[in-house]
């Protein structure tokens, strides 16, 4: 008898399971990281074009639209960091310390610790250098 296998369609696959939805949110929030890099790059370019250009960019940053955008980007980046620190243990080889395997939760917490320390250092530097 000849075989006539049926292959099910994949349309809308990411809506089939909450796990896939969370995955898509992780991937989509990467766009926020890209957008913020573009915002900062534009700032650097404007700085190189002189004082007037730089002040214009600073003005644009203070506009209500820009503040809303920054709030959205901040939340997106937080979600992105959270989802990546959750998957981080899966991307690393087995780490054995003192004969015991390092737990996945420890790796995730180390990621958060590094992010918090980096943010504090950056914010204190920014505060310190303020004219």
């Amino acid at each position: 008898m000849s075989r006539k296998a049926y292959l099910r369609p994949m349309e809308g696959w990411w809506r089939r399971d909450p796990f896939f939805v969370r995955y898509m949110v992780r991937e989509a929030t990467a766009v926020a990281v890209l957008v913020y890099t573009i915002v900062l790059t534009v700032g650097v370019v404007r700085l190189s074009q002189g004082e007037a250009a730089w002040n214009g960019w600073l003005q644009a940053m203070r506009s209500p639209g820009s503040l809303v955008l920054h709030a959205v980007l901040l939340v997106s980046m937080f979600v992105h960091a959270k989802s990546w620190f959750e998957i981080m243990p899966k991307t690393m080889p087995m780490i054995v310390i003192g004969g015991k395997r390092l737990a996945a939760s420890t790796i995730t917490r180390s990621g958060w610790a590094a992010a918090v320390v980096a943010s504090i250092v950056l914010l204190s530097l920014a505060g310190w250098w303020r004219p």
Binding site: A5, Y6, W14, D17, I87, K90, R101
Partner: protein, 251 residues
């Protein structure tokens, strides 16, 4: 509450290629008992209600890897999934996602078996050894590197959990890549260079986008997502080291 339940309804996705072009749902009412697994419910359907229902099973104790299917949309071994945890129903039963359905709950495994053969899933000795030289010794630390990955029972639940495999059936996939890692990471093995082509290919580790659901559904805690993703680093090393040494990273 469960003791008051008399029967549970099952919606089973049927596909009989000789009589239909597209699968269709069929409902069965199965007498309920507290200790009944989903597999036992299907066996009741086949024995008492409808002998034409097709599904695979063998050991009934989560070691043969035959009875994987979608239970309420999630990949599961039907022998270790209990009806009491899915009440009140109806319980939706479908063939493993992402695989071609041959008939009812039976999927085609040809592609999986071919990939499995392709990774040489056995120890390849580093050099020939005589019987008099004795056994290959391994420390507990060396064993730990491979032990969890050697627990794979080829049930293919991870493939049903992997959208990248669903979108591209050429992807070697979580289970086979985890087994590839199991042999490559074995201190007694010398076959790494022979397996790197499979690993380095676009259909190898690089088709994985770290969804991670494969590790969630694995009934044996193999963590295939970990095996695949740590080998992205190994694959990158294998690629770049060739520029540093005339023989490359290949041994």
């Amino acid at each position: 509450m469960p003791d008051a339940v008399k029967s549970v309804e099952f919606d089973v996705l049927r596909y009989r290629p000789e009589q239909e072009d597209v699968p269709a749902w069929q409902r069965y009412a199965v007498p309920y008992s507290h200790d009944m697994s989903v597999l036992q419910a299907l066996q009741h359907i086949k024995d008492e209600l409808d002998g034409s229902l097709s599904f695979r099973w063998s050991c009934r104790m989560a070691i043969c890897g035959s009875c994987g299917m979608m239970v309420n949309g999630k990949p599961a071994l039907s022998c270790q999934t209990f009806v009491r945890d899915l009440l009140p129903g109806p319980i939706r039963i479908e063939a493993l996602a992402h695989f071609p359905i041959e008939r009812d709950l039976v999927v085609g495994v040809d592609g999986f078996v071919k990939k499995l053969e392709g990774i040489k899933p056995y120890l390849i000795p580093k050099e020939p050894r005589t019987l008099a030289q004795g056994e290959y010794l391994q420390t507990p630390e060396e064993l730990e590197q491979i032990e969890q990955f050697s627990s794979c029972i080829n049930c293919m639940l991870c493939y049903a959990a992997c959208p990248q495999f669903g979108l591209n059936a050429e992807f070697t996939g979580p289970g086979v890549l985890a087994l590839l890692h199991r042999y490559n990471a074995d201190s007694r093995d010398g076959g790494r260079a022979q397996r790197m082509d499979v690993l380095n290919a676009e259909e190898g580790v690089w088709s994985c986008t770290a969804v991670g659901y494969c590790s969630e559904v694995c009934p044996k805690q193999v963590d295939p997502a970990n095996a695949v993703n740590q080998n992205k680093v190994n694959s990158a090393k294998d690629y770049f080291l060739r520029f540093l040494s005339p023989k490359g990273a290949r041994r």
